[in-house]
Symmetry: C4
Subunit: 383 residues, 4 copies
């Protein structure tokens, strides 16, 4: 008997591939409570803002706290490299598209200052915000204690892919179980991951939430450059499955946060229906008047000195944070009143809580979207 097998591939699905299907019960949108719990905090809406420089600065973080969500500040971006960030944002916004990647690479070549790490967290708190911050695994040992000291409520360890086991030439890499203990009681979010097994291993380290998604964001080109990526609906299904297995076995519930590629109320609703407890959103927030990016958006992998994986995208600033989340709106493309859309979607499926929405039916239905894309394309054509 031989152990040799042809490598097999399963199918994976993204937002545009699926649709939510109403069932035999409906409810009123005003009975819906899409609350999200993380550690001891409870958030009115299950929406986090991405740890990206064009999305979150201290004042944006405070504004999103007031609006019911949670913003994560990038501790390795312009906020902690520059005392005065205004000129930096101006420079990036003013850059010619062809040179924008080079300019971003240059801006991020300045060192991170520990004093600025502390100061930004204090600014968020002074403005009335909940301070959540993010660092890469490489810088976590150095920055996590500084963040805890400064009063951060949440700490995220985040890179394209973060795992519980990282093989490194250095004697000791980051150990997540030690980090959890070290900054206790600050909850630790870790990501990104997309795999059932990897999510289970992360949960075993004691961390408090998992960020899900590799490669689907608007500012990310990991799939073209590295070949790596998995559509968000499948990534969410796989990691939510890990959460449920782990919860049943241990009794501890580790929330799943779908991160990347969410642009509309439909994408948001599909993420939650597929099993997410919350979502992390980048470009829609970058396109609010409260965002620091001046109408531009770029990814965390864009500044990579030798192999950038992301581009600067123009998103404009056509609306306020409040309109984005709560409307009212006259737009019919799903890009405004995201929370109203989620409530209506949940109510249509008879779900009053996120846990109930996890049980709603979803189907693979690619054709409608393809038609839509082609149609939109045709619309954009001149003449």
């Amino acid at each position: 008997m031989t152990a040799v097998e042809r490598k097999s591939l399963e199918r994976a699905w993204g937002f545009d591939d699926v649709a939510i299907v109403p069932g035999a019960v409906t409810t009123n949108p005003d009975l819906v409570e899409p609350t999200f719990k993380l550690g001891d905090h409870s958030f009115r809406v299950p929406i986090l803002a991405s740890a990206m420089d064009a999305v979150v600065d201290p004042s944006f973080a405070a504004a999103l706290t007031k609006a019911g969500g949670l913003a994560v500040l990038n501790l390795e971006g312009v906020q902690t490299r520059y005392e005065d960030t205004e000129g930096i944002y101006e420079e990036i916004a003013a850059a010619n598209l062809d040179h924008s990647t080079e300019i971003i690479q240059h801006v991020y070549s300045q060192p991170i200052r520990d004093d600025l790490v502390g100061r930004r967290i204090e600014e968020i708190i002074e403005l009335g915000g909940v301070a959540a911050v993010s660092a890469t695994p490489q810088n976590t040992k150095r920055l996590a204690p500084v963040a805890k000291e400064a009063g951060a409520s949440f700490f995220a360890v985040q890179s394209t892919v973060t795992t519980a086991r990282h093989v490194s030439r250095s004697l000791r890499g980051l150990r997540l179980d030690e980090l959890v203990e070290q900054i206790d009681p600050v909850p630790v979010l870790v990501g990104n991951t997309v795999d059932t097994g990897a999510a289970l291993e992360l949960m075993e380290t004691g961390i408090h939430a998992i960020l899900v998604g590799v490669g689907p964001g608007a500012a990310c080109t990991s799939r073209e450059v590295l070949g790596i990526g998995i559509p968000q609906v499948s990534a969410t299904l796989d990691t939510a499955y890990a959460r449920d297995l782990y919860h049943e076995r241990t009794g501890r519930y580790v929330p799943i946060i779908t991160d990347g590629g969410i642009r509309t109320g439909g994408d948001l609703s599909k993420s939650i229906c597929a099993g997410a407890d919350a979502v992390m959103i980048g470009s829609p927030f970058a396109a609010t008047k409260e965002a620091p990016g001046r109408g531009y958006h770029w990814g965390m992998a864009t500044p990579h000195a030798e192999l950038p994986r992301g581009v600067r995208v123009h998103v404009g600033q056509p609306r306020t944070l409040d309109t984005l989340l709560y409307g009212p709106t006259s737009r019919t493309d799903g890009t405004e009143n995201l929370v109203g859309a989620l409530r209506t979607s949940m109510a249509t499926c008879g779900a009053q809580s996120i846990a109930e929405f996890h049980a709603a039916r979803m189907v693979i239905a690619p054709s409608i979207k393809t038609e839509g894309k082609i149609y939109q394309l045709a619309q954009q054509m001149p003449g």
Copy 2:
């Protein structure tokens, strides 16, 4: 043993994904009788006009009765909010595209008048039409008795999704079994739904027909805004299956009416072949000279004050109702002579009745259509 399972998704199919396959018998088109029975009425053609303001006013309803079909009047639109509707239709047609949603939102902020509900039904009857009317579940208790009193022959309870069980803060929601009793013998149509289980529960309440389809219409963007929607062929297969199960168990036959997204004779034929007893059509009727919309069309969810889900679409008025249904035509894209197309399609499969056509073979064959779309797109390009 664990009950935890990875959420699974089945595939769903739309009109463009499928094709009807001729078999071993053919017949003559003049032997085909595509009759549709609803309550005690029998209609020559299995086609209803959507309860949309750009499609049905009293004179259109009478015209469609003469043509062999059935029009449904929206009791919550401009007809029952305004005594003189001419100026309203003018205003909507004249609006700039960018502001059309806002203007429609404003127009529909006027209250519904009970006296106008009665008057419109009387107008249909005076013009020789069969009066079928529609209200949302919220207004059904109030409007259904008024409609019965005024002589309506059919009453439709219709919203994006309507279920037999609706959870509400108010003490008592609408109970469909009570409605059926209250307005007996007026047959009650209910929709929309897409699910086998939900359709079975609706049938149990005693209602007389089910409208099938969520999200696929030309004037609807539920899928982008809410993430909700299911392609029409699968919705029809699933609910027709419910009808057949219920029919076998109880002996009562509750017709299935596929509603939304039907633009051509091909779409119509596929709906019936997939199991529908009739179809409900919007935009093709809006594009007839008899329609009140002046060449524009908009959805029932467009006026939503905080989360509109639909746009005003320009459809023109290039043909008469008779040409749309019966031809003759020189067009080769399937948009005229819908009934001729259905007869030919049925005859090609050897089906003389709708019940026989339900047995014809259908396959999934997406590629041809994709090519067509791409081709059409190329055609639309300048140069």
Copy 3:
């Protein structure tokens, strides 16, 4: 136990969905003999020309005989309605696109003349051609004896869909077994069909070949108008399966001719590899200098008075019949040297005869083509 079942759909595939896969043996193209036998005739190449007016007139039929293939003359087109056809072809070619369907409808409203049926067959024979002719089932009883009398070598009964059992108001429809006997020894070709069961029933009547395919041709819009159609690869697989079952049971081999949608050497090779014994081609022949259509092409269903299903397509006349079939060519898009392409394709799979090529491997591989389409589309864009 219930007999009620949800209607199920299988998938079907077209040319653009599949690819031929070379295996473990190759051979030299000059060892390949793609001979096609029909009745007592043997043709050097397995290619028939469609019974369409823009493709076949008597002189084209003679030219294709010389080139090794077989042309089928439409007995219900301009050739048998008009003594002098020159002016008719001119009129159709000169028509404005918007009115071309109407003009074609008008041209075909003239009656068919029996004397011209005979005369056209005689003209083919005088020019040295093999005379194959085609009529619809409605006119077969009248035209078949005339054709036999005039010396036709093959008679095709052809309409969109032709079956062995046709239900009609008239006392007796066409019986194919009687036709076979009546015009014996003239072989009878029948089509079109796409279904295993329907093909088996046709074979039982004693007919000599089956034309396969409904709806895929360049001049056909059956799928949009009627919803009817099946991609050619699946239609070929299904009917070839019927041929093999029937052959094994009875010892009689009834060739399968894939008809419609073939534009390139790749399409031709895929048809044969999927199980066809020969193909019938329309638009590529219409685009030769020998064709009567003056660079235009239209379908047999285009003239339908009330429900035309096809359009006049401009194809040009960029090449000779010989270049189309045998090259040499500098074109790299597969539209010239069709026979050279088939030989090379067969040789690459190690197949020296059509029967051997039926055993070659084929896979479903849609992606390449989609890319190609998108690419071609991009190419066609200005700028």
Copy 4:
């Protein structure tokens, strides 16, 4: 019991259909060693340059040796037909697109000179390169001894499809087992093939590596002309399976080299992850400043006198060989720093060697790419 069966088709997948999925372990890119062994040679990077005239001349071969890869010189192209090749490259580059195929057909009508075969190999060696050369099966008997005599380190037998069993009119075709013996110890590479069985038969002849892929390259139109082709991921999965079966049975490891269609770091990573030991790349190398093609690229089947299958493609010369392979880069589309991308991709999956990367997970995820294509297309549109 009947042996007759409906022919069945499996699905096949290309680069754009799949994505690599990170798992539970990551590593540092600097721990990754993507070494490729072929015969007694070991190459730092698993990348070969295609035996195409626009890609490899003696100086390019030497440059790629220095860069850590291996270039293959085409022994049947301009290098061995012309003493002075400068003018030839100029002529092809200067040709009008419409006539470029004809001009290439003409250029390749000159005879191959044995003296030039020897001289080109000597030039590569003098410049410090490893000399690998390629001939078609037809010319192998004549050219292989000349190449060995001149000092070639590797000999490739390559045509669109090459098999162990070739049926020919001539008394004796090329026998690969005899070739291996004749030019021993020069390792023999053979291709192309795509099939598990065909790959196994080739391995049995004693050859040392297999080139995989039919039809997917940028300069190839085999799929349109012949209908032949198989997407590269499936071809790699199938032949890698053959390699593993053969290795387990015999203990001899015959590397698989995926050849054709690779344009980005993502494509390269997917090829290796799917099971390839190395890749062969054409157009990206043709687009380097070191390549002889002056910014143009054409395929080996383009010069075919009667049935050309390929076009001259403009690729430009925007970068150096070093930038292509190792960066650094500001581009974010995956077209530069291919080796950096492979290292990062492998590290993200925790793979330190190519053998470990073969075990990484891969999924079918077509939607992202389709969106990308549509998006790119929209971007390319004017206005």
